[in-house]
Protein backbone atom coordinates (compact mmCIF):
# COMPACT_ATOMS: atom_id res chain seq x y z
CA UNK A 1 0.00 0.00 0.00
CA UNK A 2 1.73 3.14 -1.20
CA UNK A 3 0.74 6.75 -0.87
CA UNK A 4 0.32 8.67 -4.10
CA UNK A 5 1.74 12.03 -3.01
CA UNK A 6 0.90 13.72 -6.29
CA UNK A 7 -2.82 13.01 -5.65
CA UNK A 8 -2.54 14.80 -2.32
CA UNK A 9 -0.74 17.72 -4.02
CA UNK A 10 -3.48 17.96 -6.65
CA UNK A 11 -6.29 17.85 -4.11
CA UNK A 12 -5.22 20.23 -1.34
CA UNK A 13 -8.27 22.43 -2.06
CA UNK A 14 -10.67 19.49 -1.75
CA UNK A 15 -8.93 18.27 1.39
CA UNK A 16 -9.21 21.73 2.96
CA UNK A 17 -12.91 22.02 2.10
CA UNK A 18 -13.65 18.57 3.49
CA UNK A 19 -11.66 19.26 6.67
CA UNK A 20 -13.55 22.51 7.29
CA UNK A 21 -16.89 20.84 6.61
CA UNK A 22 -15.90 17.95 8.90
CA UNK A 23 -14.93 20.27 11.75
CA UNK A 24 -18.06 22.35 11.29
CA UNK A 25 -20.32 19.30 11.65
CA UNK A 26 -18.50 18.08 14.78
CA UNK A 27 -18.41 21.50 16.48
CA UNK A 28 -22.08 22.21 15.70
CA UNK A 29 -22.97 18.91 17.37
CA UNK A 30 -21.01 19.77 20.52
CA UNK A 31 -22.53 23.29 20.56
CA UNK A 32 -26.12 22.00 20.31
CA UNK A 33 -25.26 19.19 22.71
CA UNK A 34 -24.20 21.77 25.32
CA UNK A 35 -27.22 23.94 24.59
CA UNK A 36 -29.49 20.98 25.37
CA UNK A 37 -27.58 19.32 28.18
CA UNK A 38 -26.78 22.40 30.31
CA UNK A 39 -30.40 23.21 31.23
CA UNK A 40 -31.25 19.49 31.43
CA UNK A 41 -28.29 18.90 33.77
CA UNK A 42 -29.42 21.74 36.04
CA UNK A 43 -32.87 20.15 36.19
CA UNK A 44 -31.38 16.67 36.79
CA UNK A 45 -29.15 18.09 39.52
CA UNK A 46 -31.98 19.87 41.38
CA UNK A 47 -34.93 17.52 40.81
CA UNK A 48 -33.83 14.12 42.12
CA UNK A 49 -36.62 12.02 40.60
CA UNK A 50 -35.86 13.32 37.09
CA UNK A 51 -32.16 12.57 37.41
CA UNK A 52 -32.32 8.82 36.82
CA UNK A 53 -34.81 9.28 34.01
CA UNK A 54 -32.73 11.85 32.10
CA UNK A 55 -29.42 9.99 32.53
CA UNK A 56 -31.09 6.68 31.62
CA UNK A 57 -32.64 8.20 28.52
CA UNK A 58 -29.31 9.54 27.29
CA UNK A 59 -27.79 6.08 27.90
CA UNK A 60 -30.47 4.40 25.81
CA UNK A 61 -29.94 6.91 22.98
CA UNK A 62 -26.22 6.07 23.10
CA UNK A 63 -26.89 2.37 22.44
CA UNK A 64 -28.48 3.20 19.07
CA UNK A 65 -25.81 2.71 16.38
CA UNK A 66 -24.71 5.96 14.73
CA UNK A 67 -25.57 4.73 11.25
CA UNK A 68 -29.01 3.79 12.58
CA UNK A 69 -29.58 7.26 14.03
CA UNK A 70 -28.71 8.88 10.71
CA UNK A 71 -30.94 6.46 8.84
CA UNK A 72 -33.86 6.83 11.24
CA UNK A 73 -33.68 10.61 10.77
CA UNK A 74 -33.94 10.31 6.99
CA UNK A 75 -37.76 10.59 6.87
CA UNK A 76 -37.50 13.72 9.05
CA UNK A 77 -34.61 15.69 7.64
CA UNK A 78 -33.48 13.77 4.54
CA UNK A 79 -29.97 13.55 3.10
CA UNK A 80 -28.79 16.84 4.62
CA UNK A 81 -26.27 18.35 6.97
CA UNK A 82 -29.11 18.74 9.48
CA UNK A 83 -29.39 14.96 9.74
CA UNK A 84 -25.66 14.67 10.41
CA UNK A 85 -25.72 17.33 13.12
CA UNK A 86 -28.84 15.97 14.86
CA UNK A 87 -27.38 12.45 14.87
CA UNK A 88 -24.04 13.58 16.29
CA UNK A 89 -25.76 15.82 18.86
CA UNK A 90 -27.71 12.85 20.20
CA UNK A 91 -24.38 11.07 20.72
CA UNK A 92 -22.77 13.98 22.59
CA UNK A 93 -25.67 14.11 25.07
CA UNK A 94 -24.68 11.03 27.04
CA UNK A 95 -21.22 12.40 27.87
CA UNK A 96 -22.17 16.08 28.25
CA UNK A 97 -25.22 15.45 30.43
CA UNK A 98 -23.46 12.98 32.73
CA UNK A 99 -20.39 15.16 33.20
CA UNK A 100 -22.37 18.36 33.78
CA UNK A 101 -24.52 16.68 36.44
CA UNK A 102 -21.41 15.22 38.10
CA UNK A 103 -19.73 18.63 37.92
CA UNK A 104 -22.68 20.33 39.61
CA UNK A 105 -22.76 17.56 42.23
CA UNK A 106 -19.09 18.15 43.01
CA UNK A 107 -19.68 21.77 44.12
CA UNK A 108 -19.27 21.80 47.95
CA UNK A 109 -22.53 22.45 49.82
CA UNK A 110 -20.74 24.95 52.05
CA UNK A 111 -19.77 27.08 49.09
CA UNK A 112 -23.39 27.19 47.96
CA UNK A 113 -24.51 28.05 51.51
CA UNK A 114 -21.93 30.84 51.68
CA UNK A 115 -23.31 32.30 48.45
CA UNK A 116 -26.83 32.05 49.86
CA UNK A 117 -25.78 33.69 53.14
CA UNK A 118 -24.28 36.57 51.18
CA UNK A 119 -27.69 37.13 49.64
CA UNK A 120 -26.90 35.80 46.17
CA UNK A 121 -30.04 34.77 44.29
CA UNK A 122 -30.27 31.10 43.20
CA UNK A 123 -29.93 31.84 39.46
CA UNK A 124 -26.94 34.08 40.06
CA UNK A 125 -25.39 31.42 42.31
CA UNK A 126 -25.79 28.95 39.46
CA UNK A 127 -24.11 31.24 36.94
CA UNK A 128 -21.34 32.72 39.09
CA UNK A 129 -20.61 29.98 41.64
CA UNK A 130 -21.85 26.54 40.65
CA UNK A 131 -21.16 26.45 36.90
CA UNK A 132 -17.63 27.90 37.19
CA UNK A 133 -16.74 25.39 39.91
CA UNK A 134 -18.21 22.57 37.82
CA UNK A 135 -16.26 23.72 34.77
CA UNK A 136 -13.31 21.28 34.99
CA UNK A 137 -15.65 18.26 34.98
CA UNK A 138 -17.87 19.82 32.28
CA UNK A 139 -14.80 20.54 30.14
CA UNK A 140 -13.64 16.94 30.50
CA UNK A 141 -17.01 15.96 28.99
CA UNK A 142 -16.70 18.56 26.23
CA UNK A 143 -13.28 17.17 25.30
CA UNK A 144 -14.57 13.58 25.05
CA UNK A 145 -17.67 14.71 23.13
CA UNK A 146 -15.57 16.73 20.67
CA UNK A 147 -13.09 13.95 19.93
CA UNK A 148 -15.95 11.43 19.62
CA UNK A 149 -17.90 13.68 17.25
CA UNK A 150 -14.87 14.33 15.07
CA UNK A 151 -14.39 10.58 14.73
CA UNK A 152 -18.10 9.91 14.10
CA UNK A 153 -18.73 12.53 11.39
CA UNK A 154 -17.31 10.13 8.81
CA UNK A 155 -20.16 7.66 9.41
CA UNK A 156 -22.46 10.23 7.79
CA UNK A 157 -20.72 9.48 4.50
CA UNK A 158 -23.35 6.75 4.03
CA UNK A 159 -26.05 9.41 3.89
CA UNK A 160 -24.05 11.57 1.50
CA UNK A 161 -22.41 13.92 4.00
CA UNK A 162 -19.57 13.04 6.36
CA UNK A 163 -16.80 15.58 5.66
CA UNK A 164 -13.52 13.66 5.48
CA UNK A 165 -15.53 10.43 5.50
CA UNK A 166 -16.24 11.04 1.82
CA UNK A 167 -12.58 10.22 1.21
CA UNK A 168 -13.23 6.72 2.64
CA UNK A 169 -16.09 5.94 0.26
CA UNK A 170 -14.14 7.47 -2.60
CA UNK A 171 -11.02 5.40 -1.91
CA UNK A 172 -13.10 2.27 -1.35
CA UNK A 173 -15.02 2.59 -4.62
CA UNK A 174 -11.89 3.25 -6.67
CA UNK A 175 -9.68 0.75 -4.82
CA UNK A 176 -7.29 3.64 -4.14
CA UNK A 177 -5.81 3.89 -0.63
CA UNK A 178 -4.35 7.42 -0.74
CA UNK A 179 -7.58 9.36 0.01
CA UNK A 180 -8.41 6.87 2.77
CA UNK A 181 -5.03 7.36 4.45
CA UNK A 182 -5.33 11.14 4.04
CA UNK A 183 -8.81 11.03 5.60
CA UNK A 184 -7.71 8.95 8.60
CA UNK A 185 -4.64 11.12 9.24
CA UNK A 186 -6.59 14.40 8.91
CA UNK A 187 -9.32 13.10 11.25
CA UNK A 188 -6.76 12.14 13.89
CA UNK A 189 -5.01 15.49 13.43
CA UNK A 190 -8.29 17.40 13.85
CA UNK A 191 -9.03 15.45 17.02
CA UNK A 192 -5.60 16.10 18.53
CA UNK A 193 -5.65 19.82 17.68
CA UNK A 194 -9.22 20.32 18.92
CA UNK A 195 -8.41 18.51 22.16
CA UNK A 196 -5.28 20.61 22.74
CA UNK A 197 -7.25 23.83 22.06
CA UNK A 198 -9.92 22.77 24.57
CA UNK A 199 -7.21 22.13 27.19
CA UNK A 200 -5.94 25.67 26.53
CA UNK A 201 -9.48 27.10 26.81
CA UNK A 202 -9.95 25.34 30.12
CA UNK A 203 -6.59 26.67 31.37
CA UNK A 204 -7.67 30.23 30.59
CA UNK A 205 -11.20 29.83 31.99
CA UNK A 206 -10.19 28.29 35.33
CA UNK A 207 -7.27 30.33 36.72
CA UNK A 208 -8.05 29.17 40.29
CA UNK A 209 -7.26 25.54 39.55
CA UNK A 210 -3.64 26.33 38.69
CA UNK A 211 -1.26 25.60 41.50
CA UNK A 212 0.26 28.78 42.88
CA UNK A 213 4.03 28.84 42.56
Amino acid sequence: MTIDWSWIGDHTDDLTTLTVSHLQAALSAVFFGLLISLPLAVVAHRVRPLRGFLLGLSNVLFTIPSIAIFVLLLPVSGLTRTTTVIGLTVYTLVVLLRNTVEGLDSVPVKTKEAAKAMGTRPFRTLLTVELPLALPVIMAGVRIATVMSISLVSVATYIGDGGLGQLFTDGFQRDFPTPVIAGVVLTLLLAVVADALLVAVQYVLTPWTRRRA
Binding site: T63, P65, I67, A68, V71, P75, S151, V155, A191
Partner: protein, 220 residues
Protein backbone atom coordinates in the same frame (compact mmCIF):
# COMPACT_ATOMS: atom_id res chain seq x y z
CA UNK B 1 -44.80 8.96 7.90
CA UNK B 2 -47.60 6.72 9.17
CA UNK B 3 -47.42 4.57 6.03
CA UNK B 4 -43.69 4.17 6.56
CA UNK B 5 -44.11 2.85 10.09
CA UNK B 6 -46.86 0.50 8.94
CA UNK B 7 -44.57 -0.89 6.22
CA UNK B 8 -41.75 -1.14 8.75
CA UNK B 9 -44.01 -3.09 11.08
CA UNK B 10 -44.98 -5.59 8.40
CA UNK B 11 -41.33 -5.88 7.22
CA UNK B 12 -40.21 -6.77 10.73
CA UNK B 13 -43.00 -9.25 11.39
CA UNK B 14 -43.41 -11.07 8.09
CA UNK B 15 -42.41 -14.73 8.20
CA UNK B 16 -40.70 -14.56 4.78
CA UNK B 17 -38.43 -11.82 6.01
CA UNK B 18 -37.21 -13.99 8.90
CA UNK B 19 -36.35 -17.14 6.93
CA UNK B 20 -33.72 -18.04 4.36
CA UNK B 21 -30.14 -16.93 3.70
CA UNK B 22 -31.05 -13.23 3.58
CA UNK B 23 -33.57 -13.70 6.40
CA UNK B 24 -33.44 -11.81 9.68
CA UNK B 25 -32.67 -14.97 11.70
CA UNK B 26 -29.55 -15.75 9.66
CA UNK B 27 -28.36 -12.11 9.53
CA UNK B 28 -28.91 -11.78 13.27
CA UNK B 29 -26.79 -14.89 13.91
CA UNK B 30 -24.01 -13.47 11.71
CA UNK B 31 -24.18 -10.13 13.48
CA UNK B 32 -23.92 -11.80 16.90
CA UNK B 33 -21.04 -13.96 15.69
CA UNK B 34 -18.99 -10.95 14.50
CA UNK B 35 -19.78 -8.94 17.63
CA UNK B 36 -19.14 -11.63 20.21
CA UNK B 37 -15.95 -12.94 18.59
CA UNK B 38 -14.55 -9.40 18.25
CA UNK B 39 -15.43 -8.60 21.87
CA UNK B 40 -13.79 -11.83 23.06
CA UNK B 41 -10.58 -11.04 21.15
CA UNK B 42 -10.65 -7.50 22.54
CA UNK B 43 -11.08 -8.92 26.05
CA UNK B 44 -8.13 -11.26 25.56
CA UNK B 45 -5.99 -8.24 24.65
CA UNK B 46 -7.51 -5.53 26.85
CA UNK B 47 -8.06 -7.31 30.17
CA UNK B 48 -4.45 -8.49 30.78
CA UNK B 49 -3.18 -5.10 29.60
CA UNK B 50 -5.49 -3.15 31.92
CA UNK B 51 -4.78 -5.47 34.87
CA UNK B 52 -1.04 -5.23 34.32
CA UNK B 53 -1.04 -1.44 34.04
CA UNK B 54 -3.32 -1.13 37.05
CA UNK B 55 -1.33 -3.60 39.17
CA UNK B 56 2.11 -2.22 38.43
CA UNK B 57 1.02 1.42 38.07
CA UNK B 58 3.32 1.62 35.05
CA UNK B 59 2.26 2.67 31.58
CA UNK B 60 -0.81 4.63 32.73
CA UNK B 61 0.16 7.44 30.39
CA UNK B 62 0.13 4.99 27.49
CA UNK B 63 -3.27 3.63 28.52
CA UNK B 64 -4.92 7.04 28.70
CA UNK B 65 -3.47 8.14 25.37
CA UNK B 66 -4.41 4.85 23.76
CA UNK B 67 -7.99 5.51 24.81
CA UNK B 68 -8.22 8.99 23.31
CA UNK B 69 -6.46 7.76 20.18
CA UNK B 70 -8.99 4.94 19.91
CA UNK B 71 -11.86 7.36 20.32
CA UNK B 72 -10.49 9.57 17.56
CA UNK B 73 -9.80 6.77 15.06
CA UNK B 74 -12.56 6.81 12.40
CA UNK B 75 -13.84 3.23 12.15
CA UNK B 76 -15.09 3.60 8.57
CA UNK B 77 -11.63 4.73 7.47
CA UNK B 78 -9.93 1.88 9.30
CA UNK B 79 -12.23 -0.74 7.75
CA UNK B 80 -11.69 0.58 4.23
CA UNK B 81 -7.94 0.85 4.76
CA UNK B 82 -7.55 -2.73 6.00
CA UNK B 83 -9.89 -3.89 3.22
CA UNK B 84 -7.74 -2.27 0.54
CA UNK B 85 -4.64 -3.80 2.12
CA UNK B 86 -5.95 -7.32 2.72
CA UNK B 87 -8.56 -7.83 0.02
CA UNK B 88 -11.80 -9.68 0.55
CA UNK B 89 -11.46 -11.25 3.99
CA UNK B 90 -12.87 -10.90 7.49
CA UNK B 91 -9.72 -9.06 8.63
CA UNK B 92 -11.06 -5.50 8.08
CA UNK B 93 -14.14 -6.22 10.16
CA UNK B 94 -12.38 -7.87 13.07
CA UNK B 95 -9.43 -5.46 13.17
CA UNK B 96 -11.75 -2.44 13.20
CA UNK B 97 -14.09 -3.91 15.83
CA UNK B 98 -11.26 -5.03 18.10
CA UNK B 99 -9.53 -1.63 17.74
CA UNK B 100 -12.82 -0.04 18.77
CA UNK B 101 -13.35 -2.26 21.82
CA UNK B 102 -9.85 -2.52 23.30
CA UNK B 103 -9.57 1.12 24.55
CA UNK B 104 -12.85 0.98 26.52
CA UNK B 105 -11.81 -2.30 28.11
CA UNK B 106 -8.27 -1.17 28.98
CA UNK B 107 -9.24 2.22 30.42
CA UNK B 108 -12.10 0.88 32.52
CA UNK B 109 -10.04 -2.06 33.81
CA UNK B 110 -7.25 0.35 34.68
CA UNK B 111 -9.69 2.79 36.32
CA UNK B 112 -11.16 -0.07 38.38
CA UNK B 113 -7.70 -1.18 39.51
CA UNK B 114 -6.60 2.31 40.57
CA UNK B 115 -9.84 2.79 42.52
CA UNK B 116 -8.87 -0.11 44.84
CA UNK B 117 -7.98 1.29 48.27
CA UNK B 118 -4.15 1.16 48.67
CA UNK B 119 -4.60 0.25 52.37
CA UNK B 120 -6.45 -2.90 51.32
CA UNK B 121 -3.58 -3.88 49.02
CA UNK B 122 -1.07 -3.15 51.78
CA UNK B 123 -3.05 -5.31 54.20
CA UNK B 124 -3.10 -8.16 51.66
CA UNK B 125 0.65 -7.93 51.16
CA UNK B 126 1.17 -7.62 54.93
CA UNK B 127 -0.63 -10.94 55.37
CA UNK B 128 1.99 -12.50 53.14
CA UNK B 129 -0.02 -12.72 49.92
CA UNK B 130 2.06 -13.12 46.77
CA UNK B 131 1.59 -10.59 43.94
CA UNK B 132 -0.65 -12.89 41.94
CA UNK B 133 -2.78 -13.56 45.01
CA UNK B 134 -3.15 -9.81 45.60
CA UNK B 135 -4.03 -9.34 41.95
CA UNK B 136 -6.56 -12.15 41.59
CA UNK B 137 -8.02 -12.39 45.08
CA UNK B 138 -8.08 -8.73 46.13
CA UNK B 139 -7.70 -6.24 43.29
CA UNK B 140 -9.62 -8.08 40.56
CA UNK B 141 -12.79 -8.71 42.61
CA UNK B 142 -12.82 -5.11 43.84
CA UNK B 143 -12.25 -3.73 40.33
CA UNK B 144 -14.84 -6.02 38.75
CA UNK B 145 -17.81 -3.59 38.65
CA UNK B 146 -15.84 -1.03 36.63
CA UNK B 147 -14.35 -3.77 34.45
CA UNK B 148 -17.90 -4.94 33.68
CA UNK B 149 -18.90 -1.37 32.79
CA UNK B 150 -16.02 -1.28 30.31
CA UNK B 151 -17.09 -4.60 28.78
CA UNK B 152 -20.68 -3.39 28.40
CA UNK B 153 -19.54 -0.18 26.73
CA UNK B 154 -17.26 -2.14 24.40
CA UNK B 155 -20.00 -4.62 23.48
CA UNK B 156 -22.53 -1.88 22.68
CA UNK B 157 -20.04 -0.10 20.45
CA UNK B 158 -19.06 -3.34 18.72
CA UNK B 159 -22.66 -4.44 18.08
CA UNK B 160 -23.49 -0.99 16.70
CA UNK B 161 -20.41 -0.91 14.50
CA UNK B 162 -20.59 -4.52 13.25
CA UNK B 163 -23.09 -3.00 10.80
CA UNK B 164 -20.03 -2.05 8.80
CA UNK B 165 -19.26 -5.69 7.90
CA UNK B 166 -21.91 -5.38 5.20
CA UNK B 167 -20.07 -2.42 3.67
CA UNK B 168 -17.14 -4.71 2.82
CA UNK B 169 -19.42 -7.41 1.36
CA UNK B 170 -20.10 -9.51 4.45
CA UNK B 171 -23.34 -10.24 6.27
CA UNK B 172 -24.89 -9.25 9.55
CA UNK B 173 -27.78 -6.88 10.10
CA UNK B 174 -25.87 -4.12 8.30
CA UNK B 175 -26.78 -5.99 5.08
CA UNK B 176 -30.28 -4.48 5.23
CA UNK B 177 -28.94 -0.99 5.90
CA UNK B 178 -26.48 -0.95 3.01
CA UNK B 179 -28.65 -2.94 0.55
CA UNK B 180 -31.57 -0.68 1.40
CA UNK B 181 -29.48 2.45 0.87
CA UNK B 182 -28.33 1.10 -2.52
CA UNK B 183 -31.89 0.15 -3.56
CA UNK B 184 -33.45 3.34 -2.14
CA UNK B 185 -35.61 1.07 0.02
CA UNK B 186 -36.10 3.11 3.18
CA UNK B 187 -38.22 0.45 4.90
CA UNK B 188 -35.41 -2.10 4.63
CA UNK B 189 -32.82 0.44 5.83
CA UNK B 190 -34.89 1.38 8.84
CA UNK B 191 -35.72 -2.26 9.56
CA UNK B 192 -31.99 -3.06 9.74
CA UNK B 193 -31.28 -0.01 11.89
CA UNK B 194 -34.06 -0.84 14.33
CA UNK B 195 -32.85 -4.46 14.63
CA UNK B 196 -29.26 -3.37 15.40
CA UNK B 197 -30.48 -0.92 18.04
CA UNK B 198 -32.70 -3.58 19.62
CA UNK B 199 -29.81 -6.10 19.72
CA UNK B 200 -27.48 -3.50 21.29
CA UNK B 201 -30.02 -2.52 23.95
CA UNK B 202 -30.98 -6.15 24.66
CA UNK B 203 -27.35 -7.25 25.12
CA UNK B 204 -26.66 -4.25 27.36
CA UNK B 205 -29.69 -5.08 29.51
CA UNK B 206 -28.62 -8.74 29.68
CA UNK B 207 -25.10 -7.81 30.81
CA UNK B 208 -26.43 -5.33 33.35
CA UNK B 209 -28.60 -8.16 34.68
CA UNK B 210 -25.52 -10.41 34.98
CA UNK B 211 -23.69 -7.58 36.71
CA UNK B 212 -26.52 -7.05 39.19
CA UNK B 213 -26.66 -10.80 39.89
CA UNK B 214 -22.88 -11.06 40.44
CA UNK B 215 -22.82 -8.11 42.84
CA UNK B 216 -26.13 -8.74 44.58
CA UNK B 217 -24.38 -9.03 47.97
CA UNK B 218 -22.56 -5.73 47.64
CA UNK B 219 -23.88 -2.43 48.90
CA UNK B 220 -24.62 -0.11 45.99
Amino acid sequence: MYELFKDLGSWLTSGDQWSGYDGIAHRLAEHLQYSLLATLIAMAIGLPLGLLIGHTGRGAFVAINLASFGRALPTVGLVVLVFLASGLSMWPVYIALVALAVPSIVTNTYAGMTAVDPDVKDAARGQGMRWHQVLFQVELPLALPLIMTGLRLALIQVVATATIAAYVSFGGLGRYVFDGLAQRDLVQVMGGAVLVAVVAIALDLALSGVQRFLFRHRPA
